[in-house]
Structure formats: C-alpha cells, structure tokens
C-alpha cells in the first residue's frame, strides 16, 4: 500500500506541476502530507497574534463553521447527496445541548452522548424515507426538513419559541480552568474540529468512504459490486448529522444562547457554498472553503451589502467554469471542464 501510493502521488504531483505552472506548484504544496498539521499549528498560534475578544469570537465561529463544512462534505462531497437543510443538524445538536445542559445544570460537554444520539435519530428520520428519492427531489426534501426543524423550534415551548434558549451553562469547569474562557474555548474548539476533520478525511479514504464515492459516481455499478447503496447513503447522512451535532454543541456553548434565527436556510446555503467552492470531496479544500466563507465577510465589511450577491454569483461561476471547486480531490482535475462537457455526446446544438 504505502510503496504504491507514494509513487502514485509523486506521479500526479509531477504531472500537474508540469502542466499547470504556478497553480501546479501551489497544489503540490496543498497535496503535502503535512499541510493539515501546518494548518493546525497556525490555528493554534493565532491567539498569540491577535487575542482581542472580537478576533477570538470570529476565529471560534470560523472553526465551528469548518466542522459543519466537513460534515456536509461527507454527505455532498463524498456521497453526492445534495442536502439543502444541513443546518437542521446544527440546530438539533445545539438545542439538545442547550436544553439538557440548562435543565440539569450540567456542563455542556456532558450532553455529548445525548447530542450524538439525537443527531443519529435526526439523520435516520430525514434519511430513511427520502434516500430512495432521486437526487433533486432529495435536495428539496432536505430543504423542507430544514425549514420544519426551524419552524418547530420556533413554535415549541421547550425550545423557547422565537426567543430561543439563553443562559446555557459553560462547556466545562475543571478546578481553576473554565473552558468558557475565550482563549481556552478557542483552543478547545480548534482541537475538537481538527479531530473531526481528520476523522472525516480518514473515513473518506476507507472502505466506507470509497463506497460513498462509488455511489456518487454510479449507483448501479456500485450495487453490482455488492454495495447496498441505500445503507451506504444512510451512513453518510448519519455521519453528516453527527458532525453537525458536534458543531451544534460547540455553537451552543460558544454563544450560550441560541434562537431559531441562527438556523435559517441562508446558513445551510453558506455551508454548502464552503463545500462547493473548496472542492467537493476534498477535505483540505473544504476546510479552506469554510475558512474563506466565514472569514472573508470580515475583510469585506465595506461590501457587506453585496456579500451574498457575490456569493451567489460565485457559486454559479464556479459551477460553470470549475465545477470541481478551487481545490478538487486529487485526480479530478480535468474531466468536468467546460471543453469536455461541450464534447459530450449530442451536446451540440444545446449550447449558445
């Protein structure tokens, strides 16, 4: 395995580097084994550079956004199932953590088992009846589920109705260390998120991860290989849900208050955008995409009115010219380019 794969990556890197010049050079850096570690170190050093509460808040939020993108990447990037209501899992996680922590006056960490169980249930409830549907129907149904989740949160008493839940206890206190301290909470978040990103990436390179990709590419052929496509899709959903739940738990304890307003469709769309821009299926790219989507607005404050307009246009432009995203999984460089699509079977006469 090791011997063979290393030769593979050398070949590919060489080939792309030769072909693409600067871009190839850049991608060879990204393909580096240790890039993840480097990114983690940078993330851990950040508080030494800027430690204003504002900056820490933004960086923590960005890290939580990364875990959402990693979770959605399992569903959309690996398995090819378009989920337009992914934010519902963040909501389920956040509300479960918030409600239980508040009711029993527990540190949020202790709600973890409940969060995971609730998210698995949510994944099953949404996935089980819908995963046999065609992909575009699935997209709309997930959107519907996302909205139902929000409306439910908005109308139930246990979730605090439109005003939501506030005064959620802290994450954990051990002796003198209060994890609610912004710096400590930032580190905690970064570590948890890094672990989840690594786990998701590893899943992607396992038997299950390959099965997801087989299903994404050709369900019939996957079935013929003995892959129970329905079960495999359900697994993707459940993993996505659990990742979302982790995000929700961090989200709830970060903000100590949650309300239905945080779980609108816009949020689902932003997570999706992170996945798509970064490069569906490539965890590294998706992390980069998530950071870009969550941090860019901070740098583009002057353009805030046009922010989402730009996002929308960007999404279209990326799909038209670079559907594999800015940083696609290795080996997905060429085929879906515009030129080749144009050559597709009887496509002539269908364009311009």
């Amino acid at each position: 395995m090791t011997i063979d794969n290393s030769t593979e990556s050398i070949h590919t890197v060489e080939a792309t580097a030769k072909k693409k010049g600067f871009g190839g050079w850049l991608s060879s850096i990204f393909e580096n084994k240790y890039i993840g570690l480097v990114a983690l170190v940078i993330a851990l050093l950040m508080p030494f550079l800027i430690a204003t509460p504002y900056a820490l808040n933004i960086m923590t939020t960005a890290a939580i956004f990364v875990v959402l993108a990693a979770g959605l990447n399992i569903v959309v990037g690996y398995c090819g199932l378009l989920d337009l209501g992914y934010i519902a899992f963040l909501a389920v996680g956040a509300y479960t953590a918030g409600i239980i922590a508040k009711a029993f006056e527990l540190p949020v960490l202790f709600t973890l088992p409940a969060v995971v169980i609730m998210c698995i249930l949510a994944g099953l409830i949404i996935g089980a009846p819908t995963l046999r549907l065609r992909s575009d129907y699935l997209a709309i149904v997930t959107l519907g589920f996302g909205e139902i989740t929000r409306i439910t949160a908005n109308n139930l008493t246990i979730t605090g109705g439109p005003s939501g839940i506030f005064g959620i206890p802290g994450f954990l206190v051990i002796g003198d260390i209060d994890f609610q301290n912004p710096v400590i909470f930032y580190y905690l978040t970064v570590i948890i998120v890094a672990g989840l990103v690594l786990a998701a990436a590893r899943l992607g390179k396992s038997r299950l991860g390959r099965a997801w990709k087989f299903v994404k590419e050709d369900e019939d052929a996957a079935e013929a290989m003995g892959i129970h496509t329905y079960k495999v899709k359900l697994m993707a959903y459940i993993f996505g849900a659990v990742w979302g739940g982790f995000g929700g738990m961090l989200f709830a304890s970060h903000l100590t208050a949650i309300s239905p307003m945080s779980f609108v469709f816009l949020q689902s769309a932003l997570v999706l955008m992170a996945v798509v821009l970064g490069g569906m299926g490539n965890m590294k790219g998706v992390v980069l995409g998530a950071l870009a989507i969550s941090l860019l607005p901070e740098f583009l404050r002057d353009f805030s009115a046009y922010r989402y307009l730009l996002f929308g246009i960007l999404l279209v432009v990326v799909m038209v010219f670079r559907p594999q995203g800015f940083w696609p999984p290795r080996g997905a460089e060429a085929e879906r380019s515009k030129a080749e699509r144009e050559a597709a079977a009887f496509a002539n006469g269908l364009k311009k």
Partner: protein
C-alpha cells in the same frame, strides 16, 4: 454530384475517438449502406452528418456546403433528415402530432397537408392510428412512423439508423420495401444496418466501417459475394 461527403473526419466523445479519418461519399439519388460491427462508428457517422456532433478534424459537406460547424436544426432545414436508432418516437404524443413535429420547420401549411396526405398514402396504417399515442405502436409501426415523420420534413436525403433493429423478418422486408420506394421517388438514402444481407439487397453501394474508418467500399452486388464480407458480416 456528391450529396454528402466525409473527408478524413475525426470525431471524439470526450476523450474517446469514435471516427478516425473516416471518408465516404453519397451521390445524389444513390442509396448507400453503411455496414460494420457495434461500436465501429456507424451511428457516429450519421450523428456527425446531422450535426448532433461536430467533427474535430476533416471536412463534412452536404449539398456542397461545409457543415462541420452546423447545428442540428440547420441540417433539418437543409433537407438532411436523420431517422435515429431506436426510432425515438415521442411516446405520449399522438401519431399525428409526431408527424407534425417532423414538419416543425416547414412553415407552409399547404405543403405539410400535402406531404401528410402522401405519407398516409404510402403508409396507410399510420392513418388508421393517427389519434393513437406513438408509444402504443408496435416496433414495426413505430419504424414506419419514424420514416413517415422524416418524410414530412421534405428530405433531399434520408439517413436511417438500423431501421430493422428488433423487427421480425417479415416487417424488415416491409421496411426495406418502403425505403426502396422512397429512393425510387428521388430521395438519396444512407442506410446503416446490422442486418447486412437485407441492406445489401436494397442498396447500390456499401461501405464497411471498422474502428472509426471506412475499410471497404464497393457495389452492393459485389459485396454480397465478397468472401471478406460474408465472413465478417453475413455469416456462412
């Protein structure tokens, strides 16, 4: 005079090359067969002529005009009608509506009415079934409908892709007869057939396509006796 001419044509599906320097020529008034195995490039040849695909290299001309960058509807307007493999009848549209679609580009209503009458005469069973949904016809009837639909467009040249596919021998004979009739009335015909024997019986000339290029060409009467053809396409 050449009606349709391919010179050294290359066509790709994505990265797969389907035609490799294919050349052929169909003269006005001729009926020519295109023989070859599955995947040899017969259908691609027709699709290139009807501009469903455009060649990457080489030249394709129809009626003296270069069509290597044409659009499918321009080919229909120019009078080159392609009756595709599998007939592609619009299944939930009535027989009559299917025929009307054949005349989609014909703006002159009187012309359509006249051709409709002609088609119903040539293929009376279509008249009986005119209100029926196309998808409910039998395979042979669908093939007749596909041919009738092509005639409404007023073709100078007709290209038929495997009209005998999946039809009973008796029906194959009828279809071939109709094709002969159409040719008799002055339309040039290019016929792709897997049933080489049936094809060679109705055509003047034939080409054999192998791996995206024409490898043999000759009079149908000679080909039917050619041992290479017998061996590869006709069977002992």
């Amino acid at each position: 005079m050449a009606m349709l001419e391919f010179e050294n044509v290359d066509v790709f599906y994505g990265k797969v090359q389907a035609l490799r320097g294919l050349s052929l020529r169909v003269d006005e008034g001729e009926i020519v067969a295109l023989l070859g195995n599955n995947g040899a490039g017969k259908t691609t040849t027709l699709s290139t002529a009807s501009a469903l695909m455009n060649p990457h290299a080489g030249s394709v001309t129809f009626d003296g005009v270069d069509i290597s960058k044409a659009k499918p509807w321009e080919m229909v307007a120019a009078g080159l009608i392609h009756v595709p493999e599998g007939r592609r009848i619009f299944s939930t549209l009535s027989v009559h509506e299917n025929l009307l679609l054949g005349g989609y580009l014909v703006k002159d209503r009187a012309k359509i009415a006249e051709r409709m009458k002609h088609v119903y005469e040539l293929l009376p069973l279509l008249q009986e079934r005119r209100a029926q949904q196309g998808g409910t016809l039998s395979g042979g009837e669908q093939q007749m409908l596909a041919i009738g639909r092509a005639l409404i467009a007023g073709p100078k040249m007709l290209m038929l892709d495997e009209p005998s596919m999946g039809l009973a021998p008796l029906i194959v004979a009828q279809v071939m007869r109709v094709i002969s009739d159409i040719r008799e009335q002055g339309t040039t015909v290019l016929l792709v057939e897997q049933n080489a024997r049936a094809a060679l019986r109705v055509t003047d000339r034939a080409y054999v396509i192998e791996e995206g290029a024409t490898t043999l060409e000759g009079k149908a009467a000679d080909m039917i006796a050619d041992p290479r053809i017998i061996d590869a396409y006709l069977g002992a």
